[in-house]
Amino acid sequence: MDIQSCVEVCNEWDIVSARQLGRNMAKELGFGNVDQARITTAISELARNIYLYAGSGKICLEPVEQMGRKGLRIIAVDNGPGIRDIRKVMEDGYTTSGGLGAGLPGVKRLMDEFTIDSTINSGTEILATKWLR
């Protein structure tokens, strides 16, 4: 199982299906209960960001292997407006939509690796990886 699976996100129910895909893949890879919950929550946050701020995009999931370690990588891509100040969105409590402002910094804490790449007016790509212990 080394193929990427993707879910298009354009409404609220797609968030649920992205999440279910994530849970199934995490289970197959042998993640424990807590890590499964972490991964699904992270997917939920990223998918919701796509839905809220970019309108549409996709969540891709792929099993990864590096130096004998196995893991699951979440790739969230959209062609939305981009993020103006990345340092600011990574601060706890910063929000532009009246939410809790814990989404992105939360995902960073939930996962082991986290990179974010955003260009104004062309979109955002976030990679987040969780390693199997």
Binding site: V34, T40, T41, S44, E45, R109, L110
Partner: protein, 271 residues
């Protein structure tokens, strides 16, 4: 369709009938509930309706064909049964007509006529089926909303709201409304929100719960969040969500004990 073509088709009815029945018999339905006899009946009805339609004309004028499509789709027969039936009917008719010794122009005209006759029928099949699906989806959606978020009065001044399943924006609104209305209606002093059945608690869900609890607090009652599973507790901490504004308990049972304490009530064993 012009009269000559109609006549030609009707004259060849027996032949078309035989070929079509043979072809459609190959179509194996996955639906076990339909016996071979029923299928034969269905096929016969389908075919005779098509012939009627050819001789009598437009679909909207008469509508029996549409009713038939509706019946078939409601009986859970797949859409392919209808589309394949129609397509092979068209192919057979065209094959048989062009076997006749006719000129190129006439053959071309016939193709056009048959196509023009068939296309609205195919469209109406597709439209019918998508309408049926849309209806099913909307019914299920409202059914889902109905079992969404009940507030249940348990003891005097104590109510419970069990939440099960995914919470989206629509449900979150409903939860808030039911909660506040119920608190007034049952004069609850304590409301227990049980999230045992919520699969994922992300910032959005947490935000809605916090808002609901805050609104309950404004009404002068206390909200206790119960049913927090260990893995959910860990993700909430990782996300950095502050739930310290209201009491939380791991199980409904512990929450209930706390609620009884707040309302100065006791459950006593009678000797």
């Amino acid at each position: 369709m012009n009269a000559a073509i109609i006549d030609m088709i009707l004259n060849k009815r027996m032949e078309i009938d035989g070929l079509w029945s043979e072809e459609i018999a190959d179509y194996k339905s996955t639906n076990r509930a339909i016996t071979p006899y029923m299928r034969e009946q269905l096929n016969n009805e389908f075919l005779s309706l098509l012939f009627n339609h050819i001789s009598q004309g437009d679909i909207s004028a008469d509508g029996t064909l549409e009713r038939f499509f509706d019946k078939v789709l409601r009986a859970n027969m797949p859409l392919e049964y209808l589309t394949q039936g129609l397509q092979s009917f068209r192919r057979i008719v065209l094959e048989i007509i062009t076997e006749e010794d006719i000129q190129k122009d006439a053959a071309f005209e016939t193709y056009r006529e048959v196509d023009r006759w068939m296309d609205p029928i195919l469209n109406s099949v597709v439209e019918n089926s998508s309408r049926l699906w849309e209806r099913t989806v909307s019914i299920q959606k409202s059914a889902l909303l109905e079992l969404s978020a009940p507030l249940i009065p348990v003891f005097q001044h104590i109510s419970v709201m069990p939440l099960i399943g995914t919470i989206d924006t629509e449900r979150a609104k409903l939860i808030m409304e039911n909660l506040l209305e119920g608190v007034i209606q049952y004069r609850s002093q304590v409301v227990l929100i049980d999230i045992t059945g919520v699969p994922v608690v992300d910032t959005m869900v947490a935000h809605h719960i916090i808002q609901a609890a805050d609104a309950v607090r404004l009404l002068g009652s206390t909200c206790i969040l119960v049913g927090i599973r260990p893995e959910i507790a860990q993700t909430i901490v990782s996300l950095g969500i502050d739930l310290s504004l209201f009491p939380t308990k791991s199980t409904l049972q512990k929450g209930m004990a706390k609620a009884l304490e707040i309302t100065n009530q006791q459950i006593v064993n009678e000797k």
